[in-house]
Symmetry: C2
Subunit: 169 residues, 2 copies
């Protein structure tokens, strides 16, 4: 039963796949550096204080995973510049949500740089979960529902409260 519960919990969940790419500290730190405009190996190394071999490994992994591009510099073919792909840029909400969580829950200094809307220079909103109609949702407002295709084999789990998902089996 516990095993079944485990299968239920993760089958068809994209989180493990996402974590294959982003499930380690340096991936997000490198992403954060990219978001700050860092493009060269040496600058990543200075910004992150990371060993060259580890940085090289992580950058290569992010290029392989389609998060970063690696292009020779126009006026100096021996140098390469790293840049974010659309897939990489799409991680912005994840990174900002994690940063905001850290600001709220970890003992840190106030941020010197704040992410803002370039149109009005106002800080972006706190990243929150929202209902289809836009209402803000907290943990207790959420439930798991079966995807339509799988609904028929587990009708009893439809709209089970989060806390009860395991016990419900």
């Amino acid at each position: 039963m516990a095993e079944r519960k485990g299968l239920d919990a993760f089958e068809g969940c994209a989180l493990p796949a996402a974590l294959e790419t982003m499930g380690e500290r340096w991936s997000f730190m490198i992403l954060r550096a990219c978001f700050s405009g860092i493009v060269y190996f040496e600058d990543f190394q200075c910004a992150l204080g990371i060993a060259r071999n580890i940085l090289s490994n992580r950058l290569g992994k992010l290029v392989t995973r389609g998060i970063l591009t690696r292009e020779p510099v126009a006026n100096d073919k021996r140098r390469v510049a790293y840049g974010l792909t659309e897939k990489g840029k799409a991680l912005m909400p994840v990174m900002i949500a994690l940063r905001q969580w850290g600001e709220r829950w970890e003992p840190v200094q106030p941020a010197r740089r704040i992410l803002a809307d370039s149109r009005d220079r106002q800080p972006v909103r706190e990243v929150r979960l929202q209902a289809a109609d836009g209402r803000l949702l907290d943990y207790q407002d959420l439930c798991w529902i079966e995807a339509p295709a799988a609904a028929d084999d587990e009708p009893d789990c439809t709209a089970a409260p989060l806390r009860a998902m395991g016990a419900a089996r």
Copy 2:
């Protein structure tokens, strides 16, 4: 200059602190299991397929970091149940944003379980960055602004486009 750029990029950023706790694959996988209602060590092990010593280490770390509670079970003092603290529940938007990113960008099966609003059972919205007035913001709409306290020592960086942050120095 590269070093200064690095300092600029990370000074006062809460991301490193957040990654101290959540910057590794198992932390999010354990969190995902908690969100599915798993509370017992054996069930985490079944759900995650993780070695007992590693699971024990990660659970202990999450308890120490204030993400999980560890309480003896009322009717069986030898067992303990793990549960999410408010700090842990506050990671929901991060986890869902990462999962949605995986669904969009990684080759995965459609999810069997979808997170929904318990009031109307409609799936939650895609997690997006929003302006103060609620407009959805994409990568190109964003800029870093100096926090008021630090604005005076780097006026030239105010509202610098993301891509130009590094080059702007």
